[in-house]
């Protein structure tokens, strides 16, 4: 079955325009069409100057986060039929600075992630860099952190978080969930080096448990739960 929808897209080229506008396109869709394909259809057939990020088209690379009908979603994971509307509105993720159209600046988001030292820390660096045998870990121990390791760095959680959005230094749900991912790993020995930043005024205590992050996450990471557990670890 084929039908048409109206795709309302946020357009802005800060180099040449003073303020953003919306453009509307009539797009043919079927029951398999995802928002990503609809946007690419516009780019390839109507307006090649429409810009967005996309790559894997299978919800694994984290490129295509955007606001779709006012909810943060991945364009490649949103089948148009499931939105149950004839008008689909697409905007860039809030809080991030717009580079152009749906493309936003993510450097600060990546820096915040880096600041929690999101890597396995071992005291015996010699063994870590010249391994002689696997570290022991049971499947139960894998289960304790693996859900939090699913993060594809799409930014949906942080951009949906009211505290992160209000600006400032708060590390946000993505970075905090990744700190927890390593702290919950039985192989990690980095609690002491991460404790300070997590306890600081950028850290876990800023969270008000709005819970929007977990709802937004397309990979089931549950950053809100990670933050709650981090707090328990820090107390």
């Amino acid at each position: 079955m084929k039908w048409e929808i109206t795709l309302r897209v946020f357009r802005f080229d800060p180099e040449r325009e003073r303020k953003p506008k919306f453009a509307e396109y009539e797009v043919p869709v079927d029951e398999y069409t995802r928002v990503l394909e609809a946007l690419l259809w516009v780019k390839e057939n109507i307006d090649p100057s429409l810009n967005l990020r996309y790559s894997c088209r299978m919800a694994m690379c984290g490129s295509c986060g955007m606001l779709i009908n006012n909810k943060p979603r991945l364009a490649c994971k949103t089948i148009i039929k499931t939105l149950k509307t004839d008008v689909v509105e697409v905007k860039p993720l809030p809080k991030f600075k717009v580079i152009r159209d749906l493309v936003v600046e993510m450097d600060d988001f990546f820096d915040k992630h880096r600041s929690v030292k999101p890597y396995l820390i071992r005291r015996n660096v010699q063994e870590q860099e010249n391994p002689t045998g696997f570290y022991f870990q049971t499947s139960e121990e894998v289960r304790r952190y693996i859900q939090f390791a699913y993060c594809i760095m799409c930014g949906l959680c942080s951009s949906s978080c009211p505290i992160f959005r209000s600006g400032g230094r708060y590390l946000g749900p993505q970075a905090l969930a990744q700190a927890f991912r390593y702290l919950a790993d039985s192989r990690d020995e980095g609690f002491d080096v991460r404790e300070k930043i997590l306890n600081s005024d950028k850290g876990v205590w800023r969270c008000h448990f709005a819970g929007e992050c977990s709802e937004a996450c397309p990979k089931g990471v549950e950053p809100a739960e990670a933050i709650q557990r981090l707090r328990r670890k820090l107390l």
Binding site: E15, Y32, C61, Y182
Partner: protein, 570 residues
């Protein structure tokens, strides 16, 4: 044009590129400065996609010889056996190293690392973590990179040209997407790790960004490409998007059915059935479809069916969670209850930049790793789960060798480098000034249709000749009739897509020409007019380079150490 300087440049940040970058920083103890260039955000490379796993000899009842033999046999004896023997030995070391950097692996109850059976491997030797094997490797490497200090990341820079002077590597010209500025990187060594080329075809497992840039950039710089006619189709990819249903499912009991409800693989590979080598399963599926025993799937695409129910709900909901989610989320089909529509999709380049066992190219200072490199490991057909460990191992060795080269070499500077770069830049600038009538998307559609029709799973002389002629016509249209509407400098993806399309054209020509010349069938390259393997004439690698008179093809013998060619039977 801006200029940046580093000791070593890494181009591409999939598994191979990230592994190379980490290795340079590790062996130089953070002393060498590394520039890391990628056309996407570093962690968004397509290495996030693999579900299946990574092969490595890790158990008592397995051996390096067995892994090497399975690989050589799978390659239809086109693999260089010294390369295979060397690299399979590195695989377990890489698995262990990644584990020490924090990568989760699925474990057995006693805490040891779990393994599963994969197509054309004789014993279970594929390690995995649920079905997000590539993703976890990518994240572990990206995370590990962040431990180091002496690197600069250049997210969303599109590489355009390699600058060579005095027959040595000198620099890399790029386009910074966010500003539209050209940036020249000067450095002593370069590791090319730009991944595959699946987007040349219409139906592919590959990301939108997998456009074969690195092959073309190397070729244009005078570096030969090897074995380019060998492109692998992955048998079970979900219709209509091409997202794979991992091969591992078939190791756990999933079966393929035609419209008669028959497990048709029994006619093609009676002993291995669904687990025969990929080229064999893919051709069987297309044969079923062509002979009228297929289904009409989503968006009217023809397909056969994968029955994953025999795998059982327990496994499907744990280690195959991504597959189940993908089927439900992307095509609205529940594999616990229903059959899943699948057909083969263009997947993997066995061929690539001609490198030796040390990953060096003919240009001092330039190395290649990962899918874009062809050290001769995959031959005519790659085995499932061999690519991930090979990306890691080649990344590591290329990184090591680039580091050693850069440490020995003094930085030199010459005005010629800048002048060369300016000349290259003008070539790309010119694309925006043609102001013809055809947009890059239209041209791209035409190319992938040609490749799908004539340079696919089944090939013959007439089709390949037609393809070659039409690709050459498209090249002319590209240079004379291209139109790029968008004139903004900021994040102009119409321009970057047009540049990528130019790369694709070059690569398509090389593949088609190599396929036309090879008058035999071997591994993934199947000629209906020459359906047999012909070791007497064709047990050799094809090597293509650019000359003043166009492309020139030459051949090089295959290295055979232990295993004499024999018929490949599964």
């Amino acid at each position: 044009m801006e200029i940046r300087k580093h000791d070593v440049l890494v181009l591409g940040t999939g598994l191979a590129g990230l592994r190379a970058a980490v290795e340079v920083l590790k062996v130089s103890k953070d002393k060498l400065s590394v520039g890391i260039v990628s056309k996407v955000h570093l962690m968004r490379s397509h290495s996030v996609a693999p579900e299946g796993g990574a092969a490595a000899v890790l158990s008592e009842n397995d051996s390096f010889d067995q892994h090497a033999y399975d690989t050589v046999k799978g390659s239809d004896f086109l693999a260089d056996q010294d390369v295979v023997e060397t690299y399979v030995r590195l695989f377990p070391k890489e698995i262990l190293q990644l584990e020490h950097w924090g990568r989760p692996w699925s474990r057995n109850d006693d805490g040891s690392v779990a393994m599963r059976l994969f197509g054309a491997h004789d014993v279970p030797r594929t390690v995995f973590a649920e079905d997000r094997t590539g993703f976890f490797l990518m994240r572990t490497l990206y995370d590990t990179l962040l431990k180091f200090e002496n690197f600069e990341r250049y997210d969303e820079y599109l590489a355009l040209s390699i600058i060579i002077d005095d027959r040595e590597f000198r620099g890399l010209l790029t386009l910074e997407k966010s500003s539209g500025n050209y940036v020249l990187f000067e450095s002593k060594a370069l590791v090319i790790a730009t991944g595959g080329l699946g987007r040349l075809w219409e139906f592919t497992t590959n990301a939108h960004t997998t456009t074969g840039d690195g092959f073309a950039i190397a070729l244009r710089a005078g570096i030969p490409l090897k074995d380019m006619e060998f492109v692998q189709w992955l048998p079970t990819c979900m219709v209509p998007h091409g997202i794979p249903a991992t091969e591992a499912l078939r190791g756990h009991g999933a079966v393929l059915l035609n419209s008669k409800g028959e497990r048709f693989m029994k006619h093609y590979a009676p002993s291995k059935m669904e687990l025969a080598a990929r080229d064999i399963v893919s051709r069987a599926m297309i044969t079923e479809i062509r002979e009228g025993r297929g289904f009409k799937g989503p968006e009217d695409m023809e397909c056969v069916m994968l029955d994953a129910r025999p795998v059982g709900e327990d496994k499907l909901m744990t280690i195959y969670k991504t597959f189940v989610e993908n089927a439900r989320d992307f095509i609205g089909i529940d594999p616990l209850e229903e059959l899943v529509p699948v057909r083969p999709a263009a997947h993997f380049a066995m061929g690539g930049i001609d490198v030796d066992i040390n990953l060096t190219t003919i240009i001092p200072g330039i190395y290649a790793a990962g899918e874009v490199a062809c050290p001769g490991f995959d031959g005519a057909n790659r085995l499932g789960s061999n690519s991930l460990p090979l990306c890691l191992a080649t990344g590591r060795i290329a990184g090591q060798n680039a580091a050693v080269y850069a440490m020995r070499k003094n930085a030199t500077s010459s005005s010629r480098v800048f002048q060369n770069a300016e000349r290259e830049m003008e070539k790309f600038e010119r694309l925006t000034q043609i102001k013809g009538s055809r947009n890059p998307y239209e041209l791209k559609k035409e190319l992938s249709h040609i490749m799908e029709s004539y340079v696919g799973l089944f090939r013959d002389e007439a089709g390949l000749l037609k393809a070659l002629e039409r690709i050459r016509q498209l090249k002319i249209s590209y240079l004379t009739d291209l139109s790029i509407d968008d004139s903004s400098k900021v994040f102009n993806t119409e321009l970057t897509n047009a540049i990528e399309f130019g790369f694709m054209l070059d690569v398509a020509e090389v593949i088609t020409l190599s396929a036309l010349k090879r008058e035999e069938s071997r591994g993934a390259h199947y000629r209906t007019d020459f359906p047999k393997r012909d070791d007497e004439k064709w047990l050799k690698h094809s090597v293509v380079r650019i000359t003043d008179a166009g492309l020139a093809v030459s051949y090089r013998p295959v290295k055979i150490t232990k295993w004499k060619p024999e018929e490949r039977r599964y």
